[in-house]
């Protein structure tokens, strides 16, 4: 009975085209933001939340959500399958590193934005094959990005500042004389960037540019006939998507890992982010967050489970079994979702809301 839009009338198109037209959704979103920005930090002050929650769960969750959002723009909205997400993240991370390293007084946010723009430029170059090819031919082309970028970052010492191992140590995140070095402050830093970029993404997909992406995805010939320019539309999707992935990559290096090497941005990472898109919901901004949460939490859950089995139930498991099981669970989940709910958790959420609207009546 709580979740109902009855009595909320929209008299103008402004009201009708809001992101959350239903009042309860608006309140819900506001609550989530308040909890994320204020509630969680307050909780951590009381000591109920250890650093582990930030460094192992919340921060990576937000960063992966951003990368997933990026891939979702390209694959979910514009319909261009990419297997090179990690490569764009790598470009963002290493470009940001070099901007801060080589330009005196480079503000960190500007470096991240420039890193994102470099990723966008790489995205445009490697998106060019989309002019001629589609489907998994294009997917194969994006694989080329994956290998090429990692190779070039490894081979050209300049990118890693001639570090012998190829590992770079990200500089400190400093803004206005404040250093973000506690787990909580890094979390808040990431949260602010991710929230802002998610809002921008939502605006894009409800405007003409978002419609152009979806039109190309759903029926490219018809999109062309009504005046969208396919190449420009696809390349813009590549650029925006890579920008998001690039910023995510920079955050991955600066706010999560601290030290990264080119090989860290492997094909496996690309796949994981693709899984987040599939499980969260192809073509859904909200779904990107669901998917990221899911993939971040599953290994943790599995670890707890195997730990429990070994310690409490006394079953001894072969070493390394949990990573094998993790692979199997991911694989099975992907197949399960593709078969049972191709629109992922986002769709389940929507169905849940529709049920709630009718509750307590069955229909």
């Amino acid at each position: 009975m709580l979740y109902r839009e009855a009595g909320q009338f929209k008299a103008t198109y402004v009201e009708d085209s809001q992101i959350f037209p239903i009042r309860q959704d608006k309140v819900g979103m506001a609550l989530i933001l308040v909890v994320a920005f204020a509630g969680i930090p307050l909780l951590s002050l009381t000591g109920l939340m250890t650093d582990y929650f930030f460094t192992a769960i919340l921060t990576p969750f937000l960063i992966f959500a951003l990368a997933t959002l990026g891939l979702n723009i390209l694959t979910g909205y514009a319909g261009q399958l990419s297997l090179g997400t990690a490569a764009f993240m790598a470009v963002g991370a290493f470009a940001s590193y070099n901007f801060i390293l080589r330009v005196d007084g480079m503000p960190i946010l500007a470096a991240f934005a420039l890193g994102g723009l470099c990723a966008a430029a790489v995205g445009i170059v490697f998106g060019l094959p989309s002019m001629r090819v589609r489907g998994f031919y294009l997917a194969a082309a994006t694989l080329a990005t994956q290998f090429f970028v990692v190779w070039i970052l490894t081979k050209i010492g300049w990118f890693t500042n001639y570090s012998s191992s190829g590992v770079i140590t990200a500089q400190k995140i400093e803004m206005f004389g404040y250093t973000f070095d506690s787990a909580l402050s890094k979390y808040l830093f990431v949260l602010a960037i991710v929230a802002l970029l998610a809002l921008l993404a939502k605006n894009m997909v409800r405007s003409n540019v978002g419609r152009s992406w979806m039109a190309i995805r759903d029926m490219d010939m018809a999109a062309e006939v009504i005046g969208f320019r396919p190449l420009r539309t696809k390349l813009l999707a590549f650029a925006v998507s890579s920008f998001y992935c690039g910023v995510a990559g920079a955050l991955f290096a600066y706010a999560y890992l601290g030290t990264v090497e080119p090989e860290g941005f492997s094909l496996d990472l690309s796949f994981r982010i693709l899984f987040m898109v599939i499980i969260g919901g192809v073509g859904s901004i909200l779904g990107s967050f669901f998917g990221a949460a899911f993939i971040v939490l599953v290994p943790i859950g599995l670890n707890i489970l195997t730990g429990f089995l070994e310690n409490s139930a006394g079953i001894s498991l072969p070493s390394g079994i949990s990573s094998s099981i993790e692979l199997m669970v991911f694989g099975a989940m992907i197949i399960f979702f593709l078969i049972v709910e191709p629109h992922g958790l986002a769709r389940l959420w929507q169905i849940g809301k529709e049920k709630l609207r009718l509750w307590p009546f069955p229909h």
């Binding site: 399958l81 094959p129 001629r132 090819v133 489907g135 998994f136 031919y137 997917a139 194969a140 082309a141 694989l143 080329a144 290998f147 090429f148 190779w151 490894t154 081979k155 010939m221 018809a222 094909l267 796949f271 693709l274 899984f275 599939i278 072969p318 390394g320 079994i321 990573s323 094998s324 099981i325 993790e326 692979l327 199997m328 669970v329 991911f330 694989g331 099975a332 989940m333 992907i334 197949i335 593709l338 078969i339 191709p342």
Partner: protein
Amino acid sequence: MQFFLEVLIGGLLSGVMYSLVALGFVLIYKASGVFNFAQGAMVFFAALTTVGLVDMGMPLWLAALLTMAAMVLLGLLTEKFVLRPLVAQHEITLFMATIGLTFFVEGLAQAIWGANVRALDLGIEDVPLEWMLENANMAISQFDLIASAIAAVLVTALAVFFTRTRIGRALRAVADDHQAALSVGIPLHHIWAIVWAVAGFLALVAGLLWGARNGVQFALTFVVLKALPVLILGGFTSVPGAIVGGLIIGASEKLAEVYIGPHFGGGIEGWFPYVLALLFLIVRPEGLFGEKIIRRI
């Protein structure tokens, strides 16, 4: 010149192996429109299972036979639990499902047999062929030669099988149009089961040959990444394309590594085939032997 030939032949020999893997893709793609990314995982699974059984004290032939049975079972289960529920879905959906399958099979293989690198001995020594060394002063590996001979025989046999036999005809009918094939009484699921079994067999052979050469390890799954440019070059639906594409990729990547690689600090084998295939794509999007696609509306 001798060195060039040596590299070229070495490249062609590894190209035959790429063809073998690519052929597994082409078969499944032709029959069911699925781009089976899990082919590499199947190669890994097959090699690991065989070597695991051998390590348990089984003779090689028995281990290979049991693995074959396991591969057929894996193929049947895949057909039943992954492909059948997804029939008539968009090909990208199917592709993503096979990525899921890849993870599952890789995890399964390691859960059963552990993640250690294991050695597999087929009884063929990886030494240069003496005759070639003496007469032409070229180092051509005996193992590579025998392995590609096996692969070549297999590839030819399959090509004949699918062009000359009833099952082959049925397969091509299914590839053209599922509905139409069903309506003339071709049992779709049988065909799919056969194709997956054959793909499993190819994975087994590739896994044994490759595993014996480089050790049975997780890296075996990457053969799928070698086969992709081959497919782009040859076209996803063409058996001759897979063969020729494999040879071109094998030869050109070795030549590029030896002659161009040093200028860039080496290691270009990883991406060179892709760039080659991509450049080719821009000129001819349908591949060497693929059919030209006319877009209709």
